[in-house]
């Protein structure tokens, strides 16, 4: 694996380095049955999202048609073909959250960040996604920012919640998935 890709010192690996990581992974999975989904998951971890070039490479190497690869990517909401922000904000729209204002939270978030679901802010800080149940229904509505769970979120307090991340003040900063 690539040693330059070091979280501590925060040196961004170059595109070339990321693709060479993908090559290593592909080499490992090339003849394994059922490789497509695990490879896509790893690729998303490497790039932060699934760039077209990576998908095409996966399609060629695993001998899965590009349409099939795209079909799988677009089936699972977990996969994203858009670059993701540093912080992935997931709004739960499961039944409990939905009835207790999840939709309003989502609208407020969209307004606050000026983007729609599946998009990323221009400064690459935030992306929005929706989910179905994070297992915290008792404290609905729930949102997740990367791995942080926020409960009983109030639409009018979204700004406050985000500001912590904007300022880099939260103590649980983790790489976006």
């Amino acid at each position: 694996m690539n040693e330059l890709h070091c979280l501590e010192c925060q040196i961004e690996p170059t595109e070339e380095e990321l693709y060479s990581q993908l090559d290593d992974i592909l080499l490992e999975y090339i003849n394994k049955p059922g490789a497509l989904i695990p490879v896509l998951q790893i690729a998303q971890r490497i790039f932060g999202y699934l760039p077209e070039k990576a998908l095409k490479k996966i399609s060629l190497t695993l001998k899965k048609s590009y349409s099939e690869v795209a079909g799988v990517v677009s089936f699972y909401s977990f996969f994203s073909t858009q670059p993701r922000g540093k912080f992935m904000v997931r709004v739960c729209l499961g039944t409990a959250c939905y009835v207790r204002g999840g939709k309003e939270v989502l609208n407020s978030l969209k307004k606050e960040l000026g983007i729609d679901v599946g998009m990323t802010t221009d400064d690459k800080m935030f992306s929005i996604d929706v989910g179905r149940c994070f297992g915290a229904c008792g404290l609905a509505p729930v949102i997740m920012v990367n791995d942080d769970v926020h409960q009983r979120v109030k639409p009018e307090k979204i700004n406050e919640l985000l500001s912590v991340y904007k300022a880099g003040l939260n103590n649980t900063i983790k790489e976006a998935v």
């Binding site: 095409k56 399609s59 060629l60 899965k64 048609s65 590009y66 795209a70 079909g71 677009s74 089936f75």
Partner: protein
Amino acid sequence: MINLIINGLEVSVPEGTTLLQAASKIGVKIPTLCHVPNKDPKGACRVCLVEVKNARSLVASCAMPASEGMRVFTATKRVRDARKTVVELLLSEHNGDCKTCDRNDDCELQELARNLGIDEVRFEGERAKYQYDDSTAALIRDNGKCIKCRRCVTVCNEIQNVGALFPQGRGYDSVIGPAFAMNLDTVACVQCGQCAAVCPVGAITENSHIDKVWKVIDNPEKIVLVQTAPAIRAALGECFDYEPGTLVTGKMVSALKQIGFDKVFDTNFAADLTIMEEGSELLMRLKNAIVEKKEAHLPQFSSCSPGWINFLEYFYPEMIDNLSTCKSPQQMFGAVAKSYYAKKNNIDPKDIVVVSVMPCTAKKFEAQRPEMNSSGYTDVDYVLTTRELGKMIKQAGISFRDLPDSEMDSPLGRSSGAADIFANTGGVMEAAIRTVYELVTGRELPADNLHLQPLMGLEGIKTASLKIEGTVPAWSFLEGVELKVAVSHGLGNTSKLLQRIKDGEEYHFVEVMTCAGGCIGGGGQPRFTTDEIRKKRMSAIYREDEGKTLRKSHENPDILEIYAEFFEHPLSHNSHNLLHTHYNKKSPV
């Protein structure tokens, strides 16, 4: 054997037979949407539901195997109501106007609705998104009409091994289409049209040239020549309710004349020409390999089937030198019409329009390949499928069944039986061997009725070998050589054959046809082509061949004449220029 009772009728079937198959055996028709014959049942659409005594719920007959003593009912109220609901739901989402739809006369969804007595749609669904995709030369996709049965996905992935189509997205927003629901030209589609041939509705159809053809026919300044592929004569009748396998060659010619084509010629003529060129090319490659010890790129691959050309260019570019450089008969015809024929008849080639009638959608793509214009003019201007010709005949108000028989015009209308069998899987090979064997030995191919039995029929991959003995002096280097050949049809089978070749199986000549059964099962043929229909069309083609006295390409007097007057000999400079082509390596993504 398993005995069961369907609608009160007793039937015995072998183990593993589905209820759908068992019912069809005794003439009970069960509707299907997602099912593709010979492929694993998907059990997805639920219109094939039937009632089985003592079973709690209705079962999907396409997936349920028959078992001993089963009592099955295919048309009870419960069954009819369930099917009705399914079809009503489909109709509630369907976004298309039946009045103007290409499939108005043979839409399976309309037929289902009619047969189920649906006179109103109780549900009001959100209409499917309308995406009109005319990005390819061969096909039009209209997603609004798609009922997501996925038949196209099954043929494109499981039979053709191409995978241009796949479900994209999830749930209501899902569409059946190319990667990320973009246009078809963004992915490696070989344009075989097998998807269009199985689509039950008007969601995938050929890119129609009917209006353009009427327009040139109406233009008095144009001389419009039509050529018909060998496979048309064994299938066109189906558009006029003839039994599959009825030969309608003479009526077809009459209809084309009535429509207003200036001359009715035969792609078969160009098929004979192809045999002369492709057979000579094979002999040249063999000579290079055996005598000159040069790299000869064996096996030689046949090059008549444009979907196969696309497939090889995309998926096996490393084998591109194995492809015969011969243009397909369609393109050879066009090149000859705008050079030899024009000259012979003192016509300015710019006034000639060549229309071909093909069993194929990929031919539409082939015709517009930029390199297909070596005479200085586009070889072929428009391509109609068999289905489109059927429509034009109806548009012209011609009563097809009442037509007399007519003969093709001369000189591009005469052909041998060897040309007819180009329509069938194995036919190009047989035609080539009839000629090559005789050229090399001076004797007729020693085969029963000139047929190479192991290369006939619907087996996916067929092989044969033939020992060459008693050669004439010019070909003595072939004395004792065991000529090995292989034939595949359907691109999935072809992938398997290519793998075998890569793994070391040796052949000299390989014939590939894109579609199951060969051209008689092409993507432009009347719907719906089953194996039973393939067999009937194939035997009609063999009948056409056997009915001729002229059965070998090299004996066709008009072929001898075109060489004497124009090309000199096969593989001459002039023939290289007009009758041969080159290919391009492409990437599948």
